[in-house]
Symmetry: C2
Subunit: 306 residues, 2 copies
């Protein structure tokens, strides 16, 4: 295994057609040095979220190949789904994992963005740590009004892309590329079809409306299931542990008399996030990750100890 490791979580605007999702995922599965750790789609989101771990080189090659497939099959003019999006290849975040600084990840995102634009002709926006304009740190600013609004407003200077001309790709829209810290994607499904409840709970829990400082969240409908969902990113799970998010949502849900049906962890999660929450619920004092046998084996295999 190479020493330098990144995580990459590309999001594609296709969550319904299984054959196309498999074709998108194929390069990730087959490229040596790029490990496909997880991929899952949501019909209501109409979105495919892929989790990759590997060396920066192979991951970039696989991304270009997968994007070509996605672009050839996804038409943003026809795309509908509950999750905000601006393009067929909607977001590509790079996350430093091992022997890689955030600065190196920012470099990687920006150089990949240029190459991606040259290959595909799709305009690129840089976000989070890779943002070239301070307001674009926030993904929600770049995606404001989604594909439909961006198509009209891209000619406005404040919405110009960072790479490419101020014009969307006719079918694939735009792509947002960035570097960021590891985040935990955590969704809570609620037993009601009233999307207002999910939106109000999202407001109570997310930082932008005064909730927990490191939580982003939206409320959306899972129409095919007749449910609603609070869909969140926990940007710093050490400062805003999962259990606190969970209990805050349970508390707010009681206000509406709505049950929490189930939750989902989307993609990858660091062991520490799970251990923290298990320790909270079971009141485990002084629990050391090194007591978890697999974590100790990993350290041994990585050669940190005899």
């Amino acid at each position: 295994m190479p020493r330098q490791l990144i995580e990459c979580v590309p999001n594609f605007s296709e969550g319904r057609r299984g054959d196309i999702m498999e074709a998108i995922v194929k390069p990730f599965r087959e490229t040596r040095g790029c490990a496909l750790l997880d991929y899952r789609a949501d019909k209501d989101h109409n979105r495919l979220v892929v989790s990759l771990v590997g060396a920066p080189g192979p991951i970039q090659e696989a991304l270009l190949e997968a994007s070509t497939v996605a672009i050839s099959h996804i038409d943003m003019e026809r795309h509908q789904g509950g999750h905000p999006r601006v393009g067929a290849v909607d977001v590509i975040p790079f996350v430093p994992l091992r022997d890689m600084t955030m600065e190196e990840c920012v470099e990687l995102a920006r150089s990949f963005g240029k190459r991606y634009h040259e290959d595909t002709g799709i305009p690129v926006y840089f976000y989070e740590e890779a943002a070239l304009r301070p307001e674009r740190k926030g993904l929600e600013v770049i995606r404001r009004g989604q594909y439909e609004a961006l198509k009209l407003e891209i000619t406005h200077p404040e919405r110009h892309p960072d790479v490419g001309k101020p014009k969307l790709h006719p079918s694939a829209g735009a792509t947002v590329i960035g570097a960021r810290k590891f985040l935990v994607a955590f969704n809570v499904n609620l037993g009601t079809d009233d999307v207002k409840v999910a939106r109000e709970i999202a407001k109570a829990v997310r930082s932008s409306s005064g909730g927990l400082c490191h939580v982003k969240g939206i409320g959306l409908a899972l129409e095919s299931r007749g449910l609603v969902q609070v869909s969140m990113n926990i940007v710093d799970h050490e400062k805003n542990p999962l259990y606190r998010v969970m209990e805050l949502i349970r508390m707010e849900a009681r206000k509406w008399g709505v049950p929490v049906l189930e939750t989902e962890v989307y993609g990858l999660i660091p062991a520490a996030a799970i251990l923290d929450s298990a320790s909270y619920y079971m009141q485990i004092a002084g629990f050391d990750p090194n007591q978890v046998i697999e974590l100790r084996l990993l350290r041994m295999l990585e050669g940190d100890e005899a």
Copy 2:
């Protein structure tokens, strides 16, 4: 790292004198191929619990060395402590971890037991999967009445040791050696000094008195802290998950109006046991251990995938 791995959790009857505990632990720390994963002592138990992982060969060498140290410093005639015990080196269980069958671990326990007796002169009992008499599968049968009773009763045929003459070592007593499945040691501390409460709760939760089938447990006093403890071994954490044990104890504690102050995981725990309980408390649907990044890295490093 060798392919064949075992866990070994020797328990020594010394939990108060720091210098002696360090001397006991030194061979585990220094023997190549034997990794000292955890060691912790409890003053009230007056007991040291060590967790080792490694290849069978080096672990046996380190055990013999550490036992020599323990035997030279611990006098069972003077030993007092809240935890049942019959010897200075009280229990040595071998646990198959990787590329090792239970049968091989039983062989290992029995051959180690013979060698240990030859080296130390201490009589040996085999327990759990390594038991030579069916009733000795249960450690509690071998330890009935503890050191003090065994000293008198060892001459009775039904209490004869499996290796050695029917006579305790004058200062180090006897040693119980065995092979068993991985168990989770889980203690719950309760906010009362009434040991009866801990004993009643232990009865409610353990299999021998009609509780959960794969839980062993006793109630004991933590005198120095003015608390009591339900001290448990969860013998099969898949069938009796931690959260169920935890909630059963919380439920019983309410009956006595006694708070659960904190819990402890003693020694090692498999990742799956933590993930199961975290999933329960946070209602995580379809949570896959492979979503935990460190567990995926471990699999990658072990060469199970590219």
